[in-house]
């Protein structure tokens, strides 16, 4: 059991607005950790801090035993943002080439990685098309491909399956399982309860606090609920009674 992501007592405010309060969690190697919570709960802020884009107001975040933010560590992280950060004027292939070269992938290696990543997300035949002609789901998949180009040890995905049809969602999850079997640690945010079941570890986030964490089964058993949704309501409700 080795810890890859260690979040200790992290708080974050934007001005006087408190977004996250005293979050502590840890993610082990090759786990699929799901951050579950309604929109506005602070999921995106938390993953951005782990990815090294934002810095915590209080507390510390260590990724691979190194304090974040750290530029060298960022080469080991793949990040897929909530918005499809792609260049619409460029083709899918050009977008991937651009991101690959940022990570120093060149020549044959770059070509090979692009082909691999594109086939993973079923976009091989659309690579020559300009991205602004892509559908929403295709853009999401291209974003995912861009995040895994450099074979990151840690993959951070912010709402990866929004706007993706169920068949494709299943195939993306299958890919995530494969990546995690090969040792990639995956941190994924979602507000879809049934998706949470697919994670090996879960953290429930509400109003900037981590209200519960554990494996989906543990969370359900300890609250004697049938579904993750019930468990979430249970933990959310307990906090309100206090």
């Amino acid at each position: 059991m080795n810890t890859v992501i260690q979040v200790s007592d992290v708080s974050k405010n934007f001005g006087s607005h408190i977004v996250l309060e005293k979050i502590s969690l840890q993610v082990n190697r090759a786990a699929i950790y799901g951050l579950l919570g309604p929109s506005g709960a602070g999921k995106t802020t938390l993953v951005k801090m782990i990815a090294g884009i934002e810095t915590p107001t209080k507390g510390s975040i260590k990724v691979l035993d190194t304090l974040m933010p750290n530029l060298h560590n960022m080469t080991k992280i793949g990040f897929m943002a909530q918005s499809d950060a792609l260049y619409g004027e460029l083709s899918g292939k050009e977008n991937l080439e651009f991101f690959a070269s940022i990570y120093g992938l060149k020549g044959e290696k770059q070509k090979e990685r692009i082909e691999h990543a594109a086939s993973l997300v079923n976009l091989t035949e659309f690579l020559k098309k300009q991205v602004h002609q892509y559908s929403g789901g295709m853009k999401r998949r291209l974003s995912l491909a861009a995040a895994i180009l450099h074979e990151p040890q840690i993959l951070i995905l912010d709402e990866p399956t929004v706007g993706i049809d169920p068949v494709l969602r299943q195939s993306i999850w299958n890919e995530l399982y494969k990546l995690s079997e090969n040792g990639t640690t995956i941190l994924v945010t979602t507000h879809v309860m049934d998706e949470a079941e697919k994670c090996s570890q879960l953290g429930m986030l509400r109003d900037g606090r981590l209200i519960a964490s554990g494996s989906p089964r543990q969370l359900k058993e300890s609250t004697s609920s049938e579904t993750i949704e019930e468990a979430f309501l249970y933990y959310g409700g307990v906090r309100h009674e206090n």
């Binding site: 090294g52 530029l71 080469t75 990040f79 499809d84 991101f99």
Partner: protein, 200 residues
């Protein structure tokens, strides 16, 4: 010498400054609004590398643009040209890089394309009055010192030195250096402004 010969050098400098400022500003702004800036900040790229990359990438196109505008003015419009065309290209290029770095810097303070347009009356229009089209000495005393902080003052002066007075490197090097200084200053400020998005 006709009026057009007198106004021509100023117009060359002005158009280059205006268009490069606007296009660079809007496109850097779009990096922010479309999320690609954040995506880039999630990579190990350093902030200065992003700013320098932007200036270099756009710089290539501004070289072409400068060359076209200058060549058009001299060969098609037949504006008086006493000095060397290469000096004019050099000056306009420096002016373009200044506009480029200023545009990308100011885009940090705009929320959308429309707000970028609002910088035109604040940044571009005042420069018209200091670019040499009007005699600075005839302005109100308190306005005159402003000319020192306007890049177009130096660009316009240098272009007229070459095109009208036939000046060479000796006449323009100080203005070219000052423009380079402006560019460096704006780029440095932009690297600092990006800190708002990522501390590192």
């Amino acid at each position: 010498m006709e009026t057009f010969d007198y106004i021509g050098p100023f117009l060359i400098g002005f158009f280059i400054f205006f268009f490069v400022f606007l296009i660079a500003g809007v496109s850097f702004l779009r990096e922010r609004t479309t999320g690609t800036l954040e995506r880039l900040l999630a990579t190990p790229l350093r902030r200065w590398e992003m700013v320098a990359g932007y200036v270099l990438g756009f710089g290539i196109f501004t070289v072409i643009q400068s060359a076209i505008i200058v060549a058009f003015a001299i060969f098609v419009l037949d504006i008086m040209m006493a000095g060397s065309i290469w000096f004019v290209v050099l000056i306009t290029l420096m002016l373009a890089v200044t506009a480029l770095s200023l545009g990308t810097l100011l885009s940090a303070f705009a929320k959308n394309e429309l707000q970028m347009i609002q910088f035109i009356p604040i940044v571009v229009v005042p420069q018209v009055f200091f670019s040499g089209l009007f005699n600075i000495e005839t302005m109100a005393d308190w306005l005159q010192p402003l000319s020192y902080i306007m890049p177009l003052t130096y660009g316009g002066e240098a272009i007229r030195d070459v095109m009208i007075r036939g000046g060479g490197w000796g006449q323009i090097y100080d203005e070219v250096l000052i423009l380079a200084g402006f560019s460096l200053l704006f780029m440095t400020l932009n690297v600092l402004a990006l800190k708002k998005h990522r501390k590192l």
